[in-house]
Symmetry: C2
Amino acid sequence: MHARPALTGPVEDYLKAIYELESRFGAAATSDVAHALDVAPASVTGMVRRLATQGYLDHVPYRGVQLTPCGRQAALRTIRRHRILESYLTGVLGYPWDRVHDEAERLEHAASDDLIERMAAALGHPTADPHGAPIPTADGLIEEQPHRTLAELPVGETARMLRVSDKNPSLLRYLAEIALQPGAEVTMVARAPFDGPITLRIGNSEPVVGPNLAAQVLVAAMPSSGLRSADASGSLPSTAASKPKSRKPTAR
Amino acid sequence: MHARPALTGPVEDYLKAIYELESRFGAAATSDVAHALDVAPASVTGMVRRLATQGYLDHVPYRGVQLTPCGRQAALRTIRRHRILESYLTGVLGYPWDRVHDEAERLEHAASDDLIERMAAALGHPTADPHGAPIPTADGLIEEQPHRTLAELPVGETARMLRVSDKNPSLLRYLAEIALQPGAEVTMVARAPFDGPITLRIGNSEPVVGPNLAAQVLVAAMPSSGLRSADASGSLPSTAASKPKSRKPTAR
DNA sequence: CTCAAAAGTTAGGTAGGCCTAAGTTTAAGG
DNA sequence: CCTTAAACTTAGGCCTACCTAACTTTTGAG
């Protein structure tokens, strides 16, 4: 870990994307990274080799990629910068939450640590960004809340909206319209069978949304007890709310 | 002017540097640009050719370079961004004035126009940055104040401090220490002959500074009359306060 | 007016990051 | 087990922006 060279923009983006894929799927596949960064798979292979020789990740050809502690640290630093920037843009400069992602994406590579910490201080050291994503601490600790998706919420139950991806502006605009934002209380009123429309209650309104949308919204895992409640539609038989639903790339 | 491609970071830096050299010397010499950007002269030649073919400047080989209206516009846009960023960093985030330049230098290439305008609005649309440099308007108009250097101020006269370069942190720290900041009233108390030390009065203190420093500080041209006042030291015989002291590169 | 130093340019090369096209390897179905 | 599609990698280029070294032009001192 002896004084690595300063990270360039692209490198930070790769590490960040790999971190995010890894925490969702357990490992990052070349093609997923390529898709996330909108580059050709061949470009990923090349960059991954470079990052592996520099100690940021382990790469087993054809099998996937995983961050080393050092790479994870670098990724979390970038994620912290990104989320503090998003928080600052909405909290201080009045940006709508659907437009902060792109701006933060560019600024996160240019801002100094000093600037980031000044922004964090101005906000009172927030622990989550405007979309509900947790902000890693300066020394790389991140606290994930236990959660499930809104789609999984049993009919009749109420939960607190926790988080949604920052990457889809039109989704975010729509969510703002129906007041489904982090912290909001949302009740599962009804769910039509065969992946049909879902009726929610948020405050006094009862928006009807698609299952696709509901699957993208995370809600707090449990205000109360365990998770017994047989209801109509198909719900995942998975045990609890830990994420790594290992997909294909198995690295190692 | 029909929709040119988005400017990359380096390109913006070249245009900005050329603009600044041009407004100081009337034209920009290759080696001056190279020095300003800390690159080799050969690199400047190459980039200049590219910018010339793209219509941002006119280049007469061996004779210098000059911005086209289009290039000037681009340069002023970058300068506006830079100066608003500097203003915001000091005004809102509490940066000391000697540390804003580097930060702004990086951010100016990453921030969107929207962000810049939000910052300007948050500051009440300032017309000068923390070092006293005028901020061009969004449509590229810049208003230079008439000025002379502090070194030229006749003994006994008082002037308002107008401006100093943002590029020398230790100079800025020293100026802050003696309270010589834009808007401050400064009186020329005495000037030792042969480019000797200069005694000033600022508020209740009488700092003594070198002629080198005094030459870098600009003061408002005239609170009152014309400029008769024979005094000891050598003062430039130039007519008034218009700057372009044409040096070598004569372009055209 | 000459001629060397200074300033500028050309030539050729490096490195980062990307691409397409053409192989390899893996996984999955028959 | 064989075969084929999908995933991945290699090979070979391109472009930007930089460099050094060698050459040309301009300038200014004598």
